[in-house]
Symmetry: C2
Amino acid sequence: MAVGIRDVARAAGVSPATVSRVLSGTPVDPAMRDAVLKAVETTGYRPNLAARRLRSRHTNTIGLIVADIRNPFFTAVSRTIEDMANRQGMRIILCNTDEDPAKEEAYLGLMEEERVTGVILAPARSTRKRPPRDFPTVLIDRTIPGEVFDCVVLDNISMADALVQHLVQRGHRRIAGLFGAESNTGRERRIGFEEAAARLGIAATSHAVPHADGEAAQVLHGILAGADRPDAIVASNGVMLLTVLRELRVLGLRVPGDIALAGFDNNDWMEFVGDGLTVIEQPVDEIGRTAMTMLAERIAHPENPARKVVLQGRLIVRGSSAAVDAAADMEAQSR
Amino acid sequence: MAVGIRDVARAAGVSPATVSRVLSGTPVDPAMRDAVLKAVETTGYRPNLAARRLRSRHTNTIGLIVADIRNPFFTAVSRTIEDMANRQGMRIILCNTDEDPAKEEAYLGLMEEERVTGVILAPARSTRKRPPRDFPTVLIDRTIPGEVFDCVVLDNISMADALVQHLVQRGHRRIAGLFGAESNTGRERRIGFEEAAARLGIAATSHAVPHADGEAAQVLHGILAGADRPDAIVASNGVMLLTVLRELRVLGLRVPGDIALAGFDNNDWMEFVGDGLTVIEQPVDEIGRTAMTMLAERIAHPENPARKVVLQGRLIVRGSSAAVDAAADMEAQSR
DNA sequence: TTTAGCTGAGAAAACGTTTTCTCAGTTCAG
DNA sequence: CTGAACTGAGAAAACGTTTTCTCAGCTAAA
């Protein structure tokens, strides 16, 4: 029933080894080559990848482990990675951890059983220590505290700083920042936020927002309904930004009329809420490409020291006074 | 170096076959069982999935082929599918076709080489004929014209109808519909749109919008800048909806003040643009679950006739007059 | 007690490739 | 012209499992 390499060999009048050689590009007598290719055609032969992987000991498979593919940041990075992998004849196995270290652990174990060529991992928030594995790994989005690892991350401190700077430039003086406390990403953004506020001498307060959605709204309610309401909010990630929007609507506050709002991660709809949301856009494409490249280099040179690549994001200014800001920027620069 | 099943067998003082039996749950003497499990522990044994797949002839892998994982509809469905698959000990291979039939074809070929257990496929727009494959397949989102196949799709006609009905109920009388002409999904939604308009006796015009983004904007411009501008627009999918929003902003038209806008596919940000966008929400979770279930049934009963499952969406009414509508609905129902 | 049937575990085959080994036929230097 | 080195393709081994085969030791029926 199923046609194997020996059937092709028989049809072409050669040995299975020769068929294998033709298929893998090893130089072979042209006449034989043609006969084999024709036999492949007529028999409808399809190589069995499981057998190939078992014998050849490379799987051409990379594992991609993220918290949740529905997070647009991960979606975008995944897409770039899948594209690159496909072009290199590689397969992607996609895994969602839901920020659960146990699930992450289970998937990493699975990757070992798959004998993957490598793994690109966005660690769960609370991952503390990465047990050494048998495969090369590149971290994206987050690092693991105290561990030196190949990773490609955003320059969170600078980007948060840029956001504050922008808001101050727009005239805001009472800025509240909402940050996740459990990931290094959230912590770094908070540092950048606080440093910028201190440097610019404004009254900014940063808050650690619990991950549970209900609690986040509660914290937020306290901030917004309090005595001196901030005139601008910085949200540390996409989920938080939506939570803020929801709470603002509950309180009947308009953006940007009553309060300004800025955040991280750009999405195609952001130009349409209010007068447009100002955000830091992550270089998702570059992150994906860099991760794949680093993985390839790690595979080629297992003994090289770990590298940390820190990429810059892009401030996307939106809103009614965008033109004004641009003018101010130019003026500032010409000085 | 690498520890195999024979190493475990040696450590446990049993034969490799027994180790295999323990691991696969075949009943085995409890004492031996414990010895094997301990040996697995101490040796750090990890089964080699390639070998297991080769010998056992099932891969526990399902292929998931979509146009673009960045489309939130596919993202959501993928997530559900990955979850279910994981729970059943199955792996997912993710493929993006970019609506390119050649890429789709290549990926289907790849799935054969992987000897996948089955495939869940969202056909490319222009896929006309599906060559028979060696694996069970379930289609999602779109069908293939003239082919009878297991598939799970939205009741596009009814849903488009519901959208028109809703807009008319809100007092709109000149509705323009924008539909993709190349997919059966777009065509069905157009039919529902036109049927509803005819039945309700309103002046609705439906347009086939080319896929290329530039052209779409151009067509749209013609519609919106024309003599009698429609008072409501129905966008057949998420991409088109964003194109409309963009064009409306270019023309300085406000939603819903100057013109109403409704569409397909619900997203978490839609409550924040204008007074909220009214859409048909697809039952993404149910689509994913159904697809997986159908795949399992197809595998169990290869000879059963193909089934087409048509699911209903949910009309999510948003916007300033939502309360008014709800009242109107209740009144209508009490009659 | 004898023996037919059953049970459970080890031995060996099998899965479909790639890779190593081998060897006949060539080439080329001395 | 001889023989050493090379070339290219077939034969056979190997990859790490699961499954089939086999057989010793039991159980239970006659």
